[in-house]
Amino acid sequence: MAGELARELSQFPFTKLMPQSFRVEIAGLTARELETRPVKVWVEVDDIGKIVKIAGFARVLRSYPHLNFVYLETYASHLASLVRSDLVRSVWNDEPVRADGCIVVTGPYPSASAMAHGLHRRTS
């Protein structure tokens, strides 16, 4: 099964898998892991009406016609059939976005009261 899958992967344009880190991650999975690993991906298609034909076993979570993307959940092993399709232009992993690591100092700031009243000198 693993050999078969490897052959299958080598035949198809895996550059459609984005970003590169996701491609590397998927390439590093064993056949067993590919079959059991759920992934949520964004599939870019030219004709969003044909997504049912492309999706197969995947579960369509939501479609975004204005972006030409369909957001779906499937198993990693099904990614091969997705990227194989001529109708699919790219497959993006639903990457995390972050908003942390910002706070450097806690507690009251020396000029806090002045700044709280709109005297923030950095905004000039």
Binding site: Q20, Y64, P96, R98, G101, C102, I103
Partner: protein, 298 residues
């Protein structure tokens, strides 16, 4: 001139907000959550961002969309929040988020930003905190039509860790820089860290521009999103290269060696990859728009 952001609707996507903070008492702020009914901010990220926006544009009508629980969300959370805010008629959108991977702007989140701008919304995005290596701008900062903001310090120097351009496909980014180092802002009372904390990231450069845009939008309500971006970028002031930054000179020996190496390499780099067009200047942008309006081109 007396601009306060009145009649301008500003959208913010993020971790939630503490509406009980006393500084929000006289502000027009509404919030909703896409992840349950609780709008509180367990991280403290967006409470500070909305606070900054309302310090610059105190009469702006701010709508916050809570799209995640905790610091991390996913692209679909942000896109769903953006769509809701578009439906609610926001004119300016603050996106203080970034992905870890550099992109060419074809990812779903960057496309959403382009779509919003095409629909008349001015979208301000963070460059990210992955500098000083080049080509470190992720989504949605890589979106072609958004205004991508890097971080400068109080000496008008681009900070060490502000993400650098160009984008993976070679476009110039960031578009500009704004103050983002050691920024004091409100903190949710539930975090028990005091009423104010200090932030240091490109996320906090974004609301400086968002607030400024709210003032400009009040002054020139009919100016298009692309014209607004042009007004900001064409009015920037020069910033100093990153290798002169205090952060670099005060860092560890390893950082200093890396800094010198970077100086040597930077002779081949376009300075705009570091700081874009430069630091934003609200007054010059206002004057620029005034000239455009008087010439009838706007």
């Amino acid at each position: 001139m007396g601009f306060t952001g009145e009649r301008v609707r500003v959208g913010v996507v993020g971790t939630g907000i503490d509406l009980a903070h006393p500084d929000f008492a006289n502000c027009s702020i509404n919030a909703f959550s896409l992840v349950g009914s609780d709008i509180s901010d367990p991280v403290g990220h967006e409470t500070g961002i909305v606070w900054l926006i309302t310090r610059i544009a105190p009469r702006a009508d701010v709508i916050l969309a809570k799209d995640r629980i905790g610091s991390y969300g996913h692209m679909h959370h942000v896109i769903d929040a953006c769509e809701r805010l578009r439906e609610l008629g926001v004119q300016i959108l603050n996106l203080s988020v970034a992905t870890d991977f550099p992109t060419d702007g074809t990812d779903p989140l960057s496309r959403e930003v382009n779509y919003l701008v095409e629909n008349g919304i001015v979208v301000v995005t963070a460059a990210g905190n992955k500098g000083p290596s080049f080509q470190t701008i992720g989504a949605p900062g890589a979106a072609a039509f958004g205004i991508t903001v890097g971080k400068s310090n109080d000496r008008d120097q681009v900070c060490w860790d502000s993400s650098r351009g160009p984008t993976v496909d070679g476009r110039l980014k960031p578009d500009c820089v704004a103050p983002g180092a050691h920024i004091m802002a409100a903190s949710p009372l539930q975090l028990r860290m005091g009423s104010y904390v200090t932030f240091d990231c490109t996320s906090y450069a974004v609301p400086h521009l968002t607030g400024t845009l709210a003032l400009l939008k009040q002054a020139y309500p009919d100016v298009s999103a692309s014209e607004m971006k042009r007004a900001i970028v064409s009015s920037c002031e020069p910033v100093k290269p990153s290798f002169l930054s205090r952060t670099a000179s005060r860092g560890s020996i390893r950082k200093r060696v890396a800094s010198r190496l970077r100086v040597a390499l930077s002779s081949q780099a376009d300075p705009r990859w570091t700081g874009g067009a430069g630091r934003i200047n609200a007054l010059r942008s206002y004057t620029w728009l005034k000239k455009v309006e008087s010439s009838g081109a706007g």
